[in-house]
Symmetry: C2
Subunit: 190 residues, 2 copies
DNA sequence: TAGCACATGTAATAAGTTACATGATTTT
DNA sequence: AAAATCATGTAACTTATTACATGTGCTA
């Protein structure tokens, strides 16, 4: 069993494990559940679905619900096996590029206040992410309280939330240090 | 001033702000300093350097140190301005894909013990990252104690370390929960 | 009737890795 | 003498986003 470099196909298999659905619905579902740590564009989804059918990982059925045509995909046994196999393979360590850290690293070259502004902006982004996580979990708890996968959804969300919280703490600490060093441009923050 | 989607050129400008160097040396330097949050391959570096010279962001000088030829690049005023401008632009929020979280999210489909194993593996990766960060900072403190950029290098490292620590804590908490739910395959961990 | 959500797809472009090709020098 | 490191580069391939093209059905 060999896997591609990225997990586009597997993310779709995972969604199909929750029930048959169309490419459009997959995109939507990602937006409402995994958006904080995984998304796919239509440009990836539709070609991937074609490959999946060709490879026997899913089947298609053209449905015309209310005159509106859609292609509903369904996981095959082979698809399930493939998903399970992928879930058992250790993700190999990959560098996730972090533009903020790159900017901080070269911060000595920035105009006074620029890095402090980056830190403030990052803090805001993290607060937003945290809110998104909280809203997502809350909605899921309400809509799918008894779903067997719920504990896993909660675990995944908690990891993202832990990241966000740690980054917020770092932002505060770092902003304070920049302030102590006189590297915060007053005009912008008081 | 408009920027490309990624910061390959800017990462090279940043390195050149520390002093003139060759493409090979840039790669090496990244490996020894920003490897935890930013790397570039030669396939990116060499073409980018060509573009940079063409765009007036750097100049080249062919040097033959000890009979060995190399191209040493140097930042121009325009290159400096460009770097400073980039440092002042807020990074727009991007989803960084997290394969581990995707696997946890679909963990209900995994074989017993598989997700616990993923969590254990992630914990190890984070411990390693933490060690790399500590070693990097230590080496820098020794080699460049009085470098004006040192405070920024420390800040960047501390952010990465905070991430790693937060993830380790999440791993422990999550492993404990999986254990409580009987989702750890005994054979593998005792 | 205008606009939005539903629905599927492709083409162009961008971004990035890997493997290969080449050759010098230094270390083992 | 072999292997590793220094040094530059390109070609093939993979991955991903964005914009475009097309059309239906529902809602304001």
């Amino acid at each position: 069993m060999s896997f591609e470099k990225t997990s586009t196909v597997e993310s779709l298999l995972g969604l199909l494990s929750l029930g048959p659905m169309s490419g459009y619905e997959m995109r939507q579902m990602m937006e409402r559940s995994t958006a904080n740590f995984w998304t796919e564009s239509y440009g990836q989804i539709y070609p991937a679905l074609k490959r999946m059918v060709k490879d026997g990982l899913a089947t298609v059925e053209e449905q015309s619900k209310d005159g509106r045509a859609k292609k509903v995909y369904k996981l095959t046994g082979e698809g399930e096996r493939r998903l399970r196999a992928w879930l058992g393979v250790e993700a190999k360590p990959q560098v996730h590029r972090n533009e903020l850290l790159l900017k901080v690293f070269f911060g000595d070259q920035a105009l006074r206040g620029a890095i402090a502004a980056q830190v403030v902006a990052e803090r805001e982004r993290c607060e937003e992410a945290l809110e998104r996580y909280e809203a997502t979990v809350l909605r899921m708890e309400v809509e799918h309280a008894r779903h067997p996968a719920m504990p896993y959804w909660r675990m995944a969300a908690r990891c993202g939330m832990a990241h966000a919280k740690a980054t917020i703490a770092w932002c505060d600490e770092t902003f304070a240090e920049l302030e102590k060093r006189g590297l915060v441009s007053k005009a912008k923050f008081y």
